[in-house]
């Protein structure tokens, strides 16, 4: 028999959005309100994290980090567990560009307000520049290559405390140094009385009672790196006065669709973007050993407006590297054998928010990502690949692997014309590995229910009890790593929830 629970506020999802809302609304508990934070995944014990690539990816990422789009040309990486994808991000803490927020043109969402909130969370999360002496060779080469070309590489502030430089950020920090929501906001919320329930999957929601009614399944399957859930396994019906969806830009729209809201809100799932990316490698004649030190220190974004891409220094593990190097056979194997001498750069494209790029659901209610790599996006990735190749060579690389070149390996001695060697016609979806981890849109903020899902305060049009507080709010791609902006928007939404509850948020 289903158990019935009553709460004032239920937050669904515990990543950058949900964790922030939980902390912002925690003072409501002292005012007599019951606040629940539901997380589908487990609470991960950092002491169990090993950094073993395949095992860690299988345990912490949905579908091992390779949730495919419907046409299988892009794989999507996101975590499942308390803290959401803040478990596996690199902690790059960026203020959003004014042109993007201003371009959203949302009354009630001022750029200055977003900046103020991002600054608050940057401080709260301990975001700071990695000291120069702890920047590793892989990152230095990116900076060196940019400098040689007269390009300004900007250093990322990183939200770590006590980072030892294990380089394992993307597999979950084994030193618990990264300041994700599971380290900062959720413990703070729990200390003030917010109840955290892991292993709890919300299957659907509907209007009812004083607000909404949620159908929830709690699973008690133990997680090898996790701690057992708080509630006994079974089905629950939760009545809530306010519900905040923060399950991420894939699962939040999917949940709304499963719940039948798309009939009145046709924009649900649509205008979805993801900064499609691929990894490039440059071979050097000396060891780089990118496996020690923080993996991501610099970004070069001077061409983001004109050419729709930005580049980041990065380091990936052997299997992910093998997957991302186009092709196979002796050339691929030779490059893999040079793994310790590879410099890596991530090319990220700014994709257009289009109604046909969307999250949908299958018959079982599971999300299906109907996303296609559009010609403009491919052009941007190819331009970014050329720019990255220039940086590799300027940094001293002897050869560069460019997925959209044939042959893919460009030797320095070729003195190649990169504009001819790297070309859009050689970018074959299905041959080139493209992945994404910045999911945005699907419940975009806006003015009307015709072309948006929520107001600028995250309140779902026509449902005053229902809010969204995650990356799905973004009307367009952010053009920079999004987690801090998600936190800022979630904090902004939390104020609207507190208003509805008749109280003041933190």
């Amino acid at each position: 028999m289903d158990r019935t629970i009553h709460a004032d506020v239920v937050i669904i999802g515990s990543g950058a959005g949900g964790g922030t809302v939980a902390a912002s609304l925690a003072p409501l508990v002292a005012q007599g309100k019951r606040v629940l934070l539901l997380e589908k995944g487990a609470r991960i014990d950092p002491k169990q994290l090993t950094g073993a690539e395949v095992d860690s990816a299988a345990l912490h990422y949905a579908q091992g980090g390779a949730h495919p789009t419907e046409d299988r040309t892009v794989t999507l990486a996101y975590a499942e567990g308390l803290g959401g994808s803040t478990l596996v991000y690199t902690g790059t803490s960026m203020t959003p560009p004014e042109r993007v927020i201003a371009g959203w043109n949302l009354p009630g969402l001022a750029y200055s307000d977003v900046v103020e909130r991002t600054a608050k969370f940057a401080v709260q999360n301990g975001a700071a520049f990695i000291p120069d002496e702890l920047i590793n060779e892989n990152n230095r080469l990116f900076q060196k290559g940019c400098a040689a070309l007269g390009r300004e590489a900007r250093q990322f502030p990183i939200n770590v405390r006590g980072c030892r430089g294990s380089s394992l950020c993307n597999l979950g920090c084994p030193n618990n140094a990264k300041q994700g929501t599971a380290q900062v906001q959720i413990p703070a919320a729990q200390a003030l009385g917010v109840e955290v329930v892991t292993h709890a999957e919300v299957r659907s929601l509907r209007v009812g009672g004083r607000g909404g009614i949620l159908d929830v399944v709690v699973d008690d399957t133990p997680h090898p790196h996790g701690i057992l859930g708080e509630w006994p396994a079974g089905r629950y019906v939760i009545h809530a006065h306010s519900v905040v969806l923060a399950a991420g830009a894939i699962h939040t729209p999917a949940l709304l669709m499963r719940s039948g809201l798309a009939a009145d809100l046709p924009a649900i799932g649509r205008f979805w973007t993801c900064h499609p990316a691929h990894i490039l490698a440059g071979e050097h004649d000396h060891a780089i050993s990118g496996y020690v030190g923080h993996p991501k220190s610099f970004v070069w974004e001077e061409r983001v407006v004109a050419e729709r891409y930005f580049l980041e220094s990065c380091m990936y593990f052997p299997f992910v590297t093998a997957k991302n190097l186009t092709g196979f056979g002796p050339d691929h194997e030779r490059l893999m054998a040079a793994y310790d001498r590879l410099q890596m750069i991530l090319v990220l494209a700014c994709d257009d928010a289009l109604p046909e790029q969307r999250v949908d659901i299958d018959e079982a209610g599971n999300p299906v990502i109907r996303y296609k790599l559009m010609p403009r996006t491919i052009e941007a990735m190819v331009r970014g690949t050329r720019a990255a190749a220039e940086i590799f060579f300027a940094a001293g690389a002897t050869a560069v692997h460019a997925p959209s070149a044939r042959p893919t390996l460009i030797e320095r001695s070729e003195n190649a014309d990169l504009n001819t060697r790297i070309a859009s016609k050689l970018f074959l979806p299905g041959t080139i590995s493209v992945s994404a981890a910045h999911f945005m849109g699907g419940c975009r903020m806006g003015i009307t229910a015709r072309d948006s899902v929520t107001t600028a305060r995250g309140q779902v049009h026509g449902h005053d009890w229902l809010f969204v507080a995650d990356g799905s709010l973004f009307p367009t791609a952010l053009e920079i790593n999004p987690y801090l902006t998600i936190m800022a928007l979630a904090d902004h939404v939390a104020e609207a929830v507190a208003d509805r509850e008749g109280h003041t948020a933190a």
């Binding site: 091992g64 299988r72 030892r164 394992l168 050993s289 593990f317 052997p318 590297t321 093998a322 056979g329």
Partner: protein, 145 residues
Amino acid sequence: MVTHEVLAPLARQIQPILATFVPATAPLGLAELAPVLARVDERLASEPPALQRQLRLFVRILWWLPLFTHLRTMGGLSPAQRLRVLTWLQDCPITKLRLGLWGLRTLLFLGWYGEPAVQARLGYRPNIAGWDAWNAQKAAQKQGE
């Protein structure tokens, strides 16, 4: 632990394909291939049965495909011939075939390059202690010189 075999029963057909993708695996016998395929099957265990069937069918198609061009199965081709056949598929105009090959290649890379001993041979030696371990190793090397 693998609870469900997807590709393991096709080890004989996969052997020449893997040897083309990763030439270093060419000397591996079926027994040595088993842990590679076990890692792949573990990843595939949670995939829908339809996808698992498609993948098995795709491996069988690859095995028989060279009959049309070389009058031999994939196993009967020389390494150079196999490389040509698979490279043609990689760049062929039919997206579904390209995707199938990409998927199989990626899974076999997971099986091979996901193995910690293989990763160590590539020079990938991460340590939870990060810079401390790195500096200690450098100091020990210096002392040994």
